[in-house]
Protein backbone atom coordinates (compact mmCIF):
# COMPACT_ATOMS: atom_id res chain seq x y z
CA UNK A 1 0.00 0.00 0.00
CA UNK A 2 1.29 3.43 -0.87
CA UNK A 3 1.24 5.83 2.01
CA UNK A 4 1.96 9.51 2.05
CA UNK A 5 5.22 8.59 3.81
CA UNK A 6 6.19 6.41 0.82
CA UNK A 7 5.59 9.39 -1.42
CA UNK A 8 7.70 11.59 0.84
CA UNK A 9 10.52 9.02 0.78
CA UNK A 10 10.23 8.75 -3.00
CA UNK A 11 10.61 12.51 -3.37
CA UNK A 12 13.65 12.58 -1.07
CA UNK A 13 15.11 9.61 -2.96
CA UNK A 14 14.53 11.38 -6.27
CA UNK A 15 16.48 14.42 -5.06
CA UNK A 16 19.29 12.19 -3.78
CA UNK A 17 19.59 10.30 -7.07
CA UNK A 18 19.46 13.42 -9.22
CA UNK A 19 21.91 15.43 -7.12
CA UNK A 20 24.80 13.10 -7.99
CA UNK A 21 24.93 14.73 -11.43
CA UNK A 22 24.24 18.29 -10.22
CA UNK A 23 26.99 20.91 -10.01
CA UNK A 24 27.26 24.52 -8.95
CA UNK A 25 28.16 26.71 -11.94
CA UNK A 26 30.25 29.82 -11.30
CA UNK A 27 29.79 31.77 -14.51
CA UNK A 28 28.60 35.15 -13.25
CA UNK A 29 29.40 37.43 -10.32
CA UNK A 30 28.03 36.53 -6.87
CA UNK A 31 25.20 34.03 -7.28
CA UNK A 32 26.26 30.63 -8.69
CA UNK A 33 23.72 28.79 -10.83
CA UNK A 34 23.16 25.07 -11.25
CA UNK A 35 24.30 22.66 -13.96
CA UNK A 36 23.67 19.03 -14.87
CA UNK A 37 26.28 16.57 -16.09
CA UNK A 38 24.45 15.43 -19.23
CA UNK A 39 27.12 13.21 -20.75
CA UNK A 40 30.72 12.50 -19.77
CA UNK A 41 32.59 15.81 -19.98
CA UNK A 42 29.52 17.87 -20.95
CA UNK A 43 27.55 19.95 -18.47
CA UNK A 44 24.30 21.74 -19.31
CA UNK A 45 23.24 24.97 -17.62
CA UNK A 46 21.10 28.06 -18.24
CA UNK A 47 22.68 30.34 -20.85
CA UNK A 48 21.80 33.55 -19.01
CA UNK A 49 23.86 32.45 -15.99
CA UNK A 50 27.13 32.13 -17.91
CA UNK A 51 28.55 35.48 -18.97
CA UNK A 52 30.54 35.86 -22.17
CA UNK A 53 34.35 35.79 -22.02
CA UNK A 54 34.39 34.57 -18.48
CA UNK A 55 36.33 31.84 -16.76
CA UNK A 56 33.76 29.24 -15.70
CA UNK A 57 34.30 26.89 -12.79
CA UNK A 58 32.10 24.06 -11.53
CA UNK A 59 31.76 22.65 -8.04
CA UNK A 60 30.71 19.01 -7.93
CA UNK A 61 28.61 17.26 -5.27
CA UNK A 62 31.89 16.07 -3.69
CA UNK A 63 33.06 19.68 -3.32
CA UNK A 64 35.76 19.39 -5.97
CA UNK A 65 36.26 22.31 -8.34
CA UNK A 66 36.54 21.80 -12.11
CA UNK A 67 37.24 24.31 -14.83
CA UNK A 68 34.95 24.49 -17.86
CA UNK A 69 34.66 26.19 -21.25
CA UNK A 70 31.50 27.18 -23.10
CA UNK A 71 31.08 24.69 -25.96
CA UNK A 72 27.80 26.06 -27.29
CA UNK A 73 24.93 28.38 -26.52
CA UNK A 74 21.30 28.49 -27.54
CA UNK A 75 19.92 31.84 -26.34
CA UNK A 76 16.54 30.89 -27.82
CA UNK A 77 16.06 28.10 -25.27
CA UNK A 78 18.40 29.70 -22.70
CA UNK A 79 20.71 26.67 -22.69
CA UNK A 80 24.50 26.63 -22.57
CA UNK A 81 26.63 23.50 -22.94
CA UNK A 82 29.93 23.50 -21.05
CA UNK A 83 32.88 21.27 -21.73
CA UNK A 84 34.88 20.04 -18.77
CA UNK A 85 37.46 17.36 -18.12
CA UNK A 86 35.86 13.99 -18.56
CA UNK A 87 35.77 12.42 -15.11
CA UNK A 88 34.32 9.26 -13.75
CA UNK A 89 31.37 10.97 -12.03
CA UNK A 90 27.97 9.74 -13.19
CA UNK A 91 25.93 11.56 -15.82
CA UNK A 92 22.27 12.36 -15.23
CA UNK A 93 19.61 9.71 -15.78
CA UNK A 94 17.74 11.44 -18.59
CA UNK A 95 14.13 10.34 -19.04
CA UNK A 96 11.80 10.34 -22.00
CA UNK A 97 9.95 13.61 -21.48
CA UNK A 98 7.22 12.43 -23.84
CA UNK A 99 5.57 10.82 -20.82
CA UNK A 100 5.19 14.17 -19.04
CA UNK A 101 1.58 15.14 -18.40
CA UNK A 102 -0.02 18.22 -16.94
CA UNK A 103 -0.40 17.61 -13.20
CA UNK A 104 2.61 15.33 -12.82
CA UNK A 105 4.57 15.86 -9.63
CA UNK A 106 8.05 17.23 -10.34
CA UNK A 107 10.97 18.60 -8.35
CA UNK A 108 13.45 21.31 -9.21
CA UNK A 109 16.89 20.53 -7.82
CA UNK A 110 19.61 23.07 -7.16
CA UNK A 111 23.24 22.56 -6.19
CA UNK A 112 23.60 21.93 -2.49
CA UNK A 113 21.37 19.93 -2.77
CA UNK A 114 18.32 22.12 -2.62
CA UNK A 115 14.83 21.27 -3.80
CA UNK A 116 11.39 22.63 -4.47
CA UNK A 117 8.34 20.68 -5.57
CA UNK A 118 5.26 21.30 -7.64
CA UNK A 119 3.42 20.10 -10.71
CA UNK A 120 3.70 20.42 -14.47
CA UNK A 121 1.25 23.20 -15.28
CA UNK A 122 1.51 23.46 -19.08
CA UNK A 123 3.20 21.34 -21.73
CA UNK A 124 3.55 23.80 -24.55
CA UNK A 125 4.46 27.25 -23.39
CA UNK A 126 3.63 29.96 -25.89
CA UNK A 127 1.17 27.80 -27.82
CA UNK A 128 3.52 27.20 -30.73
CA UNK A 129 4.85 30.73 -30.87
CA UNK A 130 7.88 30.53 -28.63
CA UNK A 131 10.01 27.41 -29.08
CA UNK A 132 7.01 25.22 -29.74
CA UNK A 133 6.91 22.00 -27.74
CA UNK A 134 10.34 22.50 -26.23
CA UNK A 135 9.43 24.34 -23.04
CA UNK A 136 7.07 23.25 -20.27
CA UNK A 137 5.72 25.45 -17.48
CA UNK A 138 5.91 24.26 -13.89
CA UNK A 139 4.03 25.37 -10.79
CA UNK A 140 6.95 25.49 -8.39
CA UNK A 141 9.31 28.10 -7.02
CA UNK A 142 12.66 28.45 -8.77
CA UNK A 143 14.74 29.87 -5.94
CA UNK A 144 17.78 32.07 -6.67
CA UNK A 145 20.53 29.92 -8.15
CA UNK A 146 18.20 27.15 -9.36
CA UNK A 147 18.41 28.14 -13.04
CA UNK A 148 20.18 25.49 -15.11
CA UNK A 149 19.31 22.74 -12.65
CA UNK A 150 17.36 19.59 -13.41
CA UNK A 151 13.60 19.20 -13.35
CA UNK A 152 13.16 15.64 -12.11
CA UNK A 153 10.25 13.24 -11.91
CA UNK A 154 9.35 11.27 -8.78
CA UNK A 155 11.92 8.63 -9.74
CA UNK A 156 14.75 11.18 -9.88
CA UNK A 157 15.07 11.03 -13.66
CA UNK A 158 15.83 14.30 -15.43
CA UNK A 159 12.95 15.48 -17.63
CA UNK A 160 14.16 19.03 -18.22
CA UNK A 161 16.37 21.97 -17.30
CA UNK A 162 14.75 24.70 -15.25
CA UNK A 163 15.29 28.34 -16.09
CA UNK A 164 13.86 31.63 -15.00
CA UNK A 165 15.21 33.14 -18.22
CA UNK A 166 12.84 31.53 -20.74
CA UNK A 167 9.78 33.47 -19.71
CA UNK A 168 9.22 36.64 -17.79
CA UNK A 169 6.02 35.45 -16.13
CA UNK A 170 6.24 31.67 -15.85
CA UNK A 171 8.58 29.21 -14.19
CA UNK A 172 9.78 27.12 -17.09
CA UNK A 173 11.83 24.10 -17.96
CA UNK A 174 13.37 23.15 -21.30
CA UNK A 175 12.43 19.57 -22.15
CA UNK A 176 15.20 16.99 -21.82
CA UNK A 177 14.72 15.94 -25.45
CA UNK A 178 15.38 19.51 -26.65
CA UNK A 179 18.46 19.70 -24.41
CA UNK A 180 19.74 16.37 -25.72
CA UNK A 181 19.42 17.68 -29.31
CA UNK A 182 21.65 20.63 -28.39
CA UNK A 183 24.14 18.35 -26.65
CA UNK A 184 24.17 16.13 -29.76
CA UNK A 185 25.19 19.17 -31.84
CA UNK A 186 28.16 19.70 -29.52
CA UNK A 187 29.13 16.01 -29.59
CA UNK A 188 28.93 15.80 -33.38
CA UNK A 189 30.09 19.23 -34.52
CA UNK A 190 31.83 20.64 -31.45
CA UNK A 191 29.37 23.53 -31.22
CA UNK A 192 25.71 24.55 -31.37
CA UNK A 193 25.13 26.18 -34.79
CA UNK A 194 23.10 29.39 -34.79
CA UNK A 195 20.65 29.54 -37.66
CA UNK A 196 20.80 32.73 -39.72
CA UNK A 197 18.72 34.37 -42.44
CA UNK A 198 20.23 37.84 -42.54
CA UNK A 199 16.99 39.77 -42.32
CA UNK A 200 15.94 42.47 -39.88
CA UNK A 201 12.20 42.71 -39.27
CA UNK A 202 9.52 44.48 -37.34
CA UNK A 203 5.87 43.65 -36.78
CA UNK A 204 3.15 45.08 -39.04
CA UNK A 205 -0.63 44.89 -38.78
CA UNK A 206 -2.25 43.08 -41.69
CA UNK A 207 -5.30 44.89 -43.15
CA UNK A 208 -8.55 42.96 -42.56
CA UNK A 209 -9.36 42.92 -46.28
CA UNK A 210 -6.01 41.30 -47.01
CA UNK A 211 -6.44 38.73 -44.22
CA UNK A 212 -9.91 37.81 -45.53
CA UNK A 213 -8.69 37.50 -49.10
CA UNK A 214 -5.74 35.29 -48.16
CA UNK A 215 -7.51 33.40 -45.33
CA UNK A 216 -4.93 34.38 -42.71
CA UNK A 217 -5.74 33.86 -39.02
CA UNK A 218 -2.87 35.98 -37.73
CA UNK A 219 -3.44 39.71 -37.16
CA UNK A 220 0.17 40.71 -37.65
CA UNK A 221 3.21 39.63 -39.65
CA UNK A 222 6.75 40.98 -39.92
CA UNK A 223 8.14 43.32 -42.56
CA UNK A 224 11.74 43.14 -43.77
CA UNK A 225 13.41 46.42 -42.88
CA UNK A 226 16.95 45.24 -43.57
CA UNK A 227 18.32 42.48 -45.79
CA UNK A 228 22.05 41.81 -45.38
CA UNK A 229 23.91 41.52 -48.69
CA UNK A 230 25.27 38.03 -49.41
CA UNK A 231 22.96 36.58 -46.73
CA UNK A 232 20.69 33.54 -47.19
CA UNK A 233 17.69 35.90 -47.32
CA UNK A 234 19.30 38.03 -50.06
CA UNK A 235 20.27 34.92 -52.02
CA UNK A 236 16.63 33.79 -51.93
CA UNK A 237 15.54 37.11 -53.41
CA UNK A 238 14.00 38.69 -50.31
CA UNK A 239 13.92 42.49 -50.53
CA UNK A 240 13.16 45.30 -48.09
CA UNK A 241 9.42 45.77 -47.77
CA UNK A 242 8.53 42.11 -48.18
CA UNK A 243 6.11 40.97 -45.45
CA UNK A 244 6.96 37.53 -44.02
CA UNK A 245 3.75 35.74 -43.07
CA UNK A 246 5.07 32.28 -42.29
CA UNK A 247 8.25 30.22 -42.32
CA UNK A 248 8.20 26.46 -42.84
CA UNK A 249 4.48 26.49 -42.10
CA UNK A 250 4.83 28.39 -38.78
CA UNK A 251 2.94 31.68 -38.62
CA UNK A 252 5.21 34.65 -37.98
CA UNK A 253 3.37 37.36 -36.07
CA UNK A 254 6.36 39.01 -34.39
CA UNK A 255 10.12 39.08 -34.88
CA UNK A 256 10.43 36.66 -31.89
CA UNK A 257 8.49 34.05 -33.86
CA UNK A 258 11.16 34.17 -36.53
CA UNK A 259 13.80 33.50 -33.87
CA UNK A 260 11.77 30.55 -32.57
CA UNK A 261 11.57 28.94 -36.00
CA UNK A 262 15.31 29.24 -36.56
CA UNK A 263 16.32 26.13 -34.62
CA UNK A 264 19.92 24.91 -34.82
CA UNK A 265 18.92 21.79 -36.75
CA UNK A 266 17.54 23.93 -39.60
CA UNK A 267 21.03 25.14 -40.52
CA UNK A 268 21.85 24.07 -44.07
CA UNK A 269 18.25 23.10 -44.80
CA UNK A 270 15.76 24.68 -47.17
CA UNK A 271 12.71 26.37 -45.67
CA UNK A 272 9.81 28.04 -47.39
CA UNK A 273 9.21 31.71 -46.65
CA UNK A 274 5.63 32.71 -47.39
CA UNK A 275 5.69 36.42 -48.08
CA UNK A 276 3.50 39.24 -49.35
CA UNK A 277 5.01 41.54 -51.96
CA UNK A 278 2.79 44.39 -53.09
CA UNK A 279 -0.14 42.62 -51.41
CA UNK A 280 0.37 39.47 -53.47
CA UNK A 281 1.42 36.21 -51.83
CA UNK A 282 4.46 34.31 -53.04
CA UNK A 283 6.83 31.67 -51.69
CA UNK A 284 10.60 31.93 -51.49
CA UNK A 285 12.92 29.00 -50.87
CA UNK A 286 15.74 29.88 -48.44
CA UNK A 287 18.71 27.76 -47.43
CA UNK A 288 19.18 28.58 -43.74
CA UNK A 289 22.73 29.73 -43.06
CA UNK A 290 24.88 29.70 -39.97
CA UNK A 291 25.68 32.79 -37.96
CA UNK A 292 29.40 33.21 -37.33
CA UNK A 293 30.22 32.05 -33.78
CA UNK A 294 31.39 34.39 -31.08
CA UNK A 295 32.02 32.84 -27.67
Amino acid sequence: MTTVMDLSNALAGAVERASGAVLAVHGRPRLPSTGVRWRAGLVVTANHTVEADREVTLTGPDGRTLSAQVAGRDPRLDIAVLRTDAESAPAADVADDGELRIGHLVLAVGAGPRASAGIVSALDVGGGRQASGEIVAVDLTLYPGFSGGPLVDVRGRVVGITTSGASRHLQCAVRASAVSRLVDHVVQGGRIPRAYLGVGTQAVVLPDALRDRLHLAQRTAVIAVNVKPDSPAAAAGLIIGDVIVSVAGHAIAEPEDLMAVLRPDRVGRAVTLSILRGGEPRDLEVIVGERPQRA
Binding site: M1, T2, T3, V4, M5, D6, L7, S8, N9, L11, A12, G13, A14, V15, E16, S19, G103, L105, L107, V109, G112, P113, R114, A115, S116, A117, G118, I119, D139, L140, T141, Y143, P144
Partner: protein, 193 residues
Protein backbone atom coordinates in the same frame (compact mmCIF):
# COMPACT_ATOMS: atom_id res chain seq x y z
CA UNK B 1 0.27 24.02 -2.20
CA UNK B 2 0.17 21.99 -5.33
CA UNK B 3 1.78 18.80 -3.97
CA UNK B 4 -1.29 18.21 -1.83
CA UNK B 5 -3.45 16.59 -4.47
CA UNK B 6 -1.49 13.33 -4.72
CA UNK B 7 -1.01 12.59 -1.00
CA UNK B 8 -4.65 13.37 -0.33
CA UNK B 9 -5.56 10.19 -2.18
CA UNK B 10 -3.34 7.85 -0.19
CA UNK B 11 -3.72 6.86 3.47
CA UNK B 12 -2.89 8.10 6.03
CA UNK B 13 -4.37 11.31 4.72
CA UNK B 14 -2.67 14.61 5.30
CA UNK B 15 -5.99 15.56 6.90
CA UNK B 16 -5.40 12.87 9.52
CA UNK B 17 -1.85 14.09 10.11
CA UNK B 18 -3.13 17.66 10.37
CA UNK B 19 -5.63 16.62 13.03
CA UNK B 20 -2.87 14.99 15.09
CA UNK B 21 -0.67 18.06 14.79
CA UNK B 22 -3.55 20.37 15.75
CA UNK B 23 -3.72 18.59 19.12
CA UNK B 24 -0.10 19.43 19.92
CA UNK B 25 0.01 22.98 18.51
CA UNK B 26 -0.80 25.66 21.07
CA UNK B 27 -1.41 29.39 20.81
CA UNK B 28 0.81 31.65 22.87
CA UNK B 29 -0.30 35.16 23.84
CA UNK B 30 1.86 37.59 25.76
CA UNK B 31 1.69 41.33 26.30
CA UNK B 32 4.46 41.68 23.75
CA UNK B 33 2.74 39.60 21.07
CA UNK B 34 2.47 35.89 20.47
CA UNK B 35 2.70 32.97 18.14
CA UNK B 36 2.55 29.20 18.25
CA UNK B 37 4.09 26.54 20.44
CA UNK B 38 4.49 22.80 20.69
CA UNK B 39 3.09 20.63 23.49
CA UNK B 40 6.34 18.97 24.58
CA UNK B 41 5.07 17.18 27.69
CA UNK B 42 1.84 17.22 29.72
CA UNK B 43 3.03 20.41 31.43
CA UNK B 44 5.71 21.76 29.07
CA UNK B 45 5.48 23.92 25.96
CA UNK B 46 8.39 24.74 23.66
CA UNK B 47 8.36 27.82 21.45
CA UNK B 48 10.66 30.53 20.07
CA UNK B 49 12.25 32.98 22.49
CA UNK B 50 10.93 35.79 20.29
CA UNK B 51 7.39 34.49 20.89
CA UNK B 52 7.67 34.08 24.70
CA UNK B 53 9.05 37.50 25.60
CA UNK B 54 7.30 37.89 28.97
CA UNK B 55 7.59 35.91 32.19
CA UNK B 56 3.94 34.86 31.88
CA UNK B 57 2.01 33.77 28.81
CA UNK B 58 -1.52 32.65 28.08
CA UNK B 59 -1.51 29.31 26.31
CA UNK B 60 -4.47 28.28 24.13
CA UNK B 61 -4.91 24.51 23.89
CA UNK B 62 -6.51 22.57 21.04
CA UNK B 63 -9.69 22.01 23.11
CA UNK B 64 -10.13 25.81 23.38
CA UNK B 65 -9.05 25.92 27.03
CA UNK B 66 -6.69 28.74 27.99
CA UNK B 67 -4.14 28.29 30.76
CA UNK B 68 -1.43 30.46 32.29
CA UNK B 69 2.14 29.35 31.64
CA UNK B 70 5.38 30.58 33.22
CA UNK B 71 8.65 30.99 31.37
CA UNK B 72 11.14 28.39 32.62
CA UNK B 73 14.08 29.42 30.48
CA UNK B 74 14.70 31.32 27.26
CA UNK B 75 17.78 31.24 25.05
CA UNK B 76 17.70 34.38 22.90
CA UNK B 77 20.65 33.25 20.77
CA UNK B 78 19.12 29.89 19.93
CA UNK B 79 15.66 31.57 19.81
CA UNK B 80 14.15 28.84 21.98
CA UNK B 81 12.02 29.06 25.11
CA UNK B 82 10.47 26.55 27.51
CA UNK B 83 7.19 27.26 29.34
CA UNK B 84 5.60 25.36 32.20
CA UNK B 85 1.82 25.20 32.61
CA UNK B 86 -0.69 23.15 34.61
CA UNK B 87 -0.83 19.56 33.35
CA UNK B 88 -3.11 19.14 30.37
CA UNK B 89 -4.67 15.84 29.46
CA UNK B 90 -3.60 16.10 25.82
CA UNK B 91 -0.85 13.73 24.60
CA UNK B 92 2.39 15.55 23.79
CA UNK B 93 3.96 15.87 20.35
CA UNK B 94 5.72 12.92 18.76
CA UNK B 95 9.21 13.81 17.67
CA UNK B 96 11.20 12.64 14.66
CA UNK B 97 14.97 12.39 14.26
CA UNK B 98 15.81 15.60 12.40
CA UNK B 99 19.25 14.23 11.44
CA UNK B 100 17.46 11.63 9.30
CA UNK B 101 15.57 14.31 7.34
CA UNK B 102 16.29 14.39 3.60
CA UNK B 103 16.05 17.16 1.00
CA UNK B 104 12.88 16.66 -1.03
CA UNK B 105 10.89 15.01 1.77
CA UNK B 106 7.31 16.19 2.24
CA UNK B 107 6.74 18.33 5.31
CA UNK B 108 3.80 20.22 6.81
CA UNK B 109 3.76 23.29 9.02
CA UNK B 110 1.09 24.07 11.58
CA UNK B 111 0.57 27.43 13.21
CA UNK B 112 -1.58 30.52 13.33
CA UNK B 113 -0.43 32.52 10.27
CA UNK B 114 -1.92 36.02 10.41
CA UNK B 115 -4.13 34.84 13.26
CA UNK B 116 -5.75 31.96 11.32
CA UNK B 117 -5.68 29.40 14.11
CA UNK B 118 -4.17 25.95 13.52
CA UNK B 119 -3.62 26.35 9.81
CA UNK B 120 -1.73 23.75 7.79
CA UNK B 121 0.65 24.48 4.93
CA UNK B 122 2.66 21.85 3.06
CA UNK B 123 5.75 21.58 0.90
CA UNK B 124 9.12 19.87 0.72
CA UNK B 125 12.43 20.16 2.52
CA UNK B 126 14.39 22.64 0.41
CA UNK B 127 17.84 22.36 1.99
CA UNK B 128 19.61 21.37 5.20
CA UNK B 129 22.22 24.04 5.55
CA UNK B 130 23.33 27.09 7.52
CA UNK B 131 21.41 30.28 6.75
CA UNK B 132 24.77 32.00 6.29
CA UNK B 133 28.27 30.56 5.97
CA UNK B 134 29.61 29.18 9.21
CA UNK B 135 26.26 29.43 11.01
CA UNK B 136 24.25 26.59 12.54
CA UNK B 137 22.24 24.21 10.41
CA UNK B 138 18.63 25.08 9.71
CA UNK B 139 15.89 23.17 7.99
CA UNK B 140 14.95 25.25 4.94
CA UNK B 141 11.49 24.26 3.76
CA UNK B 142 9.59 25.25 0.63
CA UNK B 143 6.52 25.88 2.79
CA UNK B 144 4.54 29.08 3.04
CA UNK B 145 4.70 30.68 6.49
CA UNK B 146 3.44 33.99 7.86
CA UNK B 147 3.73 35.83 11.17
CA UNK B 148 1.92 33.61 13.70
CA UNK B 149 3.70 30.45 12.55
CA UNK B 150 6.69 31.20 14.79
CA UNK B 151 7.22 28.54 17.45
CA UNK B 152 4.92 26.04 15.74
CA UNK B 153 5.80 22.61 14.43
CA UNK B 154 7.26 21.56 11.12
CA UNK B 155 6.41 17.86 10.81
CA UNK B 156 6.98 14.87 8.55
CA UNK B 157 4.19 12.92 6.85
CA UNK B 158 3.80 10.67 9.89
CA UNK B 159 2.91 13.74 11.95
CA UNK B 160 6.17 13.66 13.89
CA UNK B 161 7.76 17.04 14.61
CA UNK B 162 11.06 17.61 12.78
CA UNK B 163 11.58 21.28 13.60
CA UNK B 164 10.29 24.54 15.07
CA UNK B 165 9.30 27.15 12.50
CA UNK B 166 11.28 30.24 13.40
CA UNK B 167 11.93 32.55 10.45
CA UNK B 168 10.94 33.38 6.92
CA UNK B 169 13.87 34.12 4.61
CA UNK B 170 13.64 34.62 0.86
CA UNK B 171 10.20 33.00 0.80
CA UNK B 172 11.49 29.89 2.59
CA UNK B 173 10.53 28.60 6.01
CA UNK B 174 13.51 28.29 8.35
CA UNK B 175 13.03 25.80 11.18
CA UNK B 176 15.29 24.86 14.09
CA UNK B 177 15.99 21.09 13.83
CA UNK B 178 14.12 19.23 16.58
CA UNK B 179 17.32 17.47 17.72
CA UNK B 180 18.71 20.90 18.65
CA UNK B 181 15.48 21.56 20.56
CA UNK B 182 15.85 18.23 22.38
CA UNK B 183 19.31 19.28 23.56
CA UNK B 184 17.97 22.67 24.65
CA UNK B 185 15.16 21.10 26.68
CA UNK B 186 17.52 18.52 28.21
CA UNK B 187 20.00 21.19 29.31
CA UNK B 188 17.16 23.38 30.59
CA UNK B 189 15.87 20.47 32.68
CA UNK B 190 19.39 19.75 33.96
CA UNK B 191 19.82 23.41 34.91
CA UNK B 192 16.47 23.50 36.71
CA UNK B 193 17.25 20.62 39.07
Amino acid sequence: MSVLSAPEASPPHLAWIAERLRQVTVEIHTEAGGGAGILWAADLVVTNAHVARDLWARVGLADDRHVEARLVIADRRADLALLRMPRSGAPPAELADSDALRVGALVVALGHPLGLRRTLTAGVVHALAPARPGGRRWIHADVRLAPGNSGGPLADTAGRVVGINTMIAGGLALAIPINDVRRFVASAAAGAT
